[in-house]
């Protein structure tokens, strides 16, 4: 019974690692800025899963409070990121991440 629990905790961590890796690969490969934002969200969620797992493993509520802060920062990040994407697409419709490599107005 004890061994199964340990495996489940390790399983959470490995699952979070896989989600983070998939998100990182998405950020590297995709060129649509909106999809890149979604992949960043994926990575943030993988880290949240890790934090909750550590919170359970170490019997400490601080990990869950940290997840709450990550949620808030992620929300702020998405708002600002989407604002930038809207501002850029208004000037250059259909711009990919390759097109906006020059940051001049």
């Amino acid at each position: 019974m004890n061994v199964d629990t340990i495996d489940l905790n390790a399983g959470y961590l490995v699952l979070a690692a896989m989600l983070f890796a998939i998100g990182a690969a998405g950020v590297l490969v995709r060129r649509n800025p909106l999809v890149i934002v979604m992949c960043v969200e994926l990575m943030l969620n993988a880290v949240n899963l890790t934090l909750v797992t550590f919170s359970t493993m170490l019997n400490d509520i601080a990990g869950q409070i940290m997840v709450l802060f990550v949620l808030v920062v992620a929300a702020a990040e998405v708002v600002v990121g989407l604002g930038i994407i809207v501002a850029i697409s208004r000037r250059r419709p259909g711009a990919t991440a390759d097109d906006i490599r020059v940051l001049r107005g």
Binding site: I6, I22, N59, V73, G83, I85, V86, R92
Partner: protein, 234 residues
């Protein structure tokens, strides 16, 4: 015990499939739907780990607000057209990304095989606020109880006490959020205000509206095109 493992297995599969959908979908709307599946699965995993409050917040904030915001922007900009995934802008970029991802997974999963399951996670048990008080930091053999986690001890309790521990989750988070972390909490409020003001400023349509100038084309095909048109006009 069995229920937890089954829930974990199902949600892990859903989360992984959704994540792969985010990366591989050609249409951004399909990517957003894959993201919803992943976020829901992670919310269920939070509840599975006795973090009920975070499970609810995850559904409300992520699937309820963030993904809807992303979908809104997709529809607003009309960029819900398929992306061309067949051409590779940088030679070997995809293989490099796959290798990086595999190294990341292999590195983290390898820790559990090399270090052993107990020693992989280090840290002080119940450093700030124990979720379940009274759990010793070492077991009878003197090994740290880190790897076993809270679940083992919670499941050994009678059903009423297990339910009480689940119901304490919000109370515990609230107590420590408004005492130990109250400064970070207030900074968060300032951060949200700044983000809202910044988003409004950026999304505002400027009075002096001028489209961004086209970039100079540096690829060889465009150079050829220029030279041929130059011959025709000259």
């Amino acid at each position: 015990m069995g229920v937890q493992i089954v829930v974990f297995a199902v949600c892990a599969i859903v989360a992984l499939l959704g994540a792969l959908g985010v990366v591989f979908a050609r249409n951004p709307v399909h990517s957003a739907l894959g993201l919803v599946a992943t976020l829901f699965a992670i919310a269920v995993l939070f509840v599975n780990q006795n973090a009920q409050f975070l499970g609810v917040v995850q559904v409300i904030v992520y699937t309820g607000a963030i993904v809807v915001l992303i979908l809104f922007v997709i529809m607003l900009l009309g960029v819900d057209t398929d992306e061309d995934l067949d051409t590779e802008p940088l030679l070997g970029q995809r293989w490099a990304a796959v290798i990086v991802a595999l190294l990341l997974i292999g590195g983290i999963a390898g820790i559990f095989f090399v270090e052993g399951r107990g020693e992989a996670v280090t840290g002080q048990v119940a450093a700030l606020a124990p979720i379940v008080p009274g759990i010793p930091s070492t077991d009878a053999q003197g090994n740290p109880t880190t790897a076993a986690g809270v679940d083992t001890f919670v499941r050994a309790l009678p059903a009423e006490q297990q339910q009480a521990i689940g119901e304490q989750n919000i109370t515990q988070i609230g107590e420590h959020l408004f005492t130990d972390y109250v400064f970070a909490f207030m900074i968060t409020a300032a951060l949200l205000t700044i983000a809202v003001i910044g988003a409004v400023l950026m999304a505002r349509r400027p009075k002096r509206y001028e489209p961004m100038p086209e970039l100079e084309d540096t690829s060889y095909e465009d150079v050829d095109e220029l030279s041929t048109t130059g011959e025709v006009t000259g």
